[in-house]
Subunit: 207 residues, 4 copies
DNA sequence: CATGAATGAGTATTCATTCAT
DNA sequence: TATGAATGAATACTCATTCAT
């Protein structure tokens, strides 16, 4: 298992490099020196730089999925769980991380292995979200007329869009933008009973 | 003028290369041979590879803005105009183009010049969209309670999210996903009068 | 003569560039833009960059020779004239100018044309100096036993060495070093009558 | 140790290239092929071409200093030791080496790292020479009134000037010129006792 | 398991010079 | 006399990868 440990060390070192310099910007030499191994030795653990990127993407996406699963696993209102997930995604998104994510997306258009990983992740993410929505419907928190699968897609799209905004909206706009997104999300999900009593969302002008 | 023409030729050649190989993947040598000029001659027209990327980004974003402005300029319903813009964005998005866009986003996190271009574009896009929403409100098509600025942000976020989906959702899911987004959008914008008579949107389960 | 004028303009522009960036460091493009002509047009006036360097060296050395000739031409003591020439050379020597001179020397070891120019200049400089020394001997200022030709060489060597010091000695040492050189020079040249009454030169320790 | 050996091999190969083509004239490609290594491998041993120049300068100046120190270390007359050092410097100076030295001087005006190396060398050279002069004074060979520090500067200036002459004086003049310099040097250094019995130096005309 | 020497094609960019107009 | 488009070899340097030890 020593092998596996070292592999993990290298992966985290590589992640630090990728965050610092980007996917193509980080060289294997950088990664090796960050991981304190010799350049040749890297290839004892990984077939190529691409393989490192693949492994890293997979690991990252898996932990992201697990984190989300546990986040919505608790007792609290499903909508609140989703909203707080959106918050966390947006707040935990340093520009470097987002840039890296975008590079991985770009990579997926040219590197089929990465594309496959990304596809798998999206499917699992969607099925988890659909499950969560069904759970919410059973508890009467989510509009029972909402199709869980399609709703899941919409939610994920909104969460990702909110995340993306952190890179492009100016810091001062960010809060407003994210509140808007939360309102859209809430409007989309909330059951009719709750909708009747809804407060004016922030993107409405003064009544 | 001859200078400007050649500059444009080089830009389109460069775009072909970037689409094929990515932002860092395309070399100046590739660009030169695609443009059928000698490697040195490139620098007669552009200061650097970065300058090419900058010019290309700017041109792309400008035409995108103009296209949208003319799309919503006509007589038809504002909501329909926005929906069809979303369609066009989504349908015109070959994976390669999207990947490139993602790379530019990533670039913007590390290259302040690109960041500035992107920021400017986003602002102009938002102000145009807000103007469109106000127009729709005057015509009674758009919910008068909607704050135009925040609404514009939400719309743009949704359009971009729909676009992004084309890279990650499988082809078979795509239509459903996009319909979902359109419904969310319609729900967000439509005036109460129209909302009363709304048809069941596609992301509702069969009643 | 318009041709000749433009040629001169280009030469002075080139000199500015060479001073700024060095002999190999200055590009023909830089020179052209400094001279406000097109890159092609440069070759209407000069066969090559080397030819510019050659012309520039020749012009510079000629004016240097003329300046010296007129400096020692006056009425004052020959030794003082030489000492003040040494001062002027040393003080007028910005690092950039000296560096350029060194580069020309280096060039002369590889470029026969420059070597020839330099050789010619040295010979003329030496013959002028020898003439000056003979003049001083006639006036009883210079040791009559000094061989004018060999003495001229020694003087020139000392003047050049003093000049060279400005690039390498720290600013605080410079005055002392140059005084030393002046003393050596004076000791070498002064007639015995004057030597009998000489003041202790600065490079003697306290008696 | 193998690393250090290879480093040295590369340095000598680089020196051959620099002597042949000059500091800017020699390309890293030339150096690599002279050292029989691949172009990339050079950077395993040196950070940059500049670093090679720096290492080379330092090594050269150090051995020069050591050589001189041992030359004056023996039993013989201090003045003779200095004169023979002058001879060696002058005779060992192929034009190519001198040209290179000049280029390094020029470089020092634009490259602070080279300037620092040069400055250090000059200081150490001066302090060694001053020590030698003091030694000569103790042995009654050198004029006790001479200030060792200033005298050292003068001596070094003369030695360098003599060296410089080899590049510019025609071969036939060279001996005469160097004899002149030796006489100047001897006159500067010799103690009064010896001066009383001095032979007519070569730069005096026949009496 | 580990090193680090070695590769060689590849990188963006520069340059003196030529040529058509 | 003048332009500036065009060249293409050259520049210093980087990189993912291989291999002998």
């Amino acid at each position: 298992m020593k092998h596996e440990n070292k592999r993990q060390e290298i992966l985290t070192a590589a992640m630090r490099c990728f965050l610092r310099s980007g996917l193509k910007g980080a060289s294997t030499a950088q990664i090796c020196s960050e991981a304190k191994i010799s350049p040749g030795h890297l290839y004892h653990y990984f077939e190529s730089k691409e393989a490192i990127i693949g492994a890293l993407s997979e690991a990252y996406l898996q932990t992201a999925a697990e984190r989300f699963r546990s986040a919505v696993g608790g007792d609290r209102s499903v909508i609140n769980a989703i909203l707080s997930e959106m918050d966390m995604q947006a707040k935990g998104s340093q520009p470097a991380k987002l840039a890296l994510m975008y590079e991985v997306f770009a990579e997926s258009a040219r590197n089929p292995e990465v594309a496959k990983i990304l596809r798998t992740y999206d499917l699992s993410r969607r099925s988890v979200m659909a499950e969560v929505l069904r759970h919410g419907q059973r508890r009467g928190e989510i509009d029972p007329k909402l199709d869980p699968e399609a709703g899941a897609t919409a939610v994920i799209g909104l969460v990702d869009a909110a995340k993306a905004m952190t890179l492009r909206a100016s810091r001062s706009d960010l809060k407003k933008v994210q509140d808007t997104f939360k309102s859209v999300l809430t409007g989309l999900l909330r059951s009719p009973t709750q909708k009747a009593t809804k407060s004016t969302p922030p993107f409405r002008s003064r009544p």
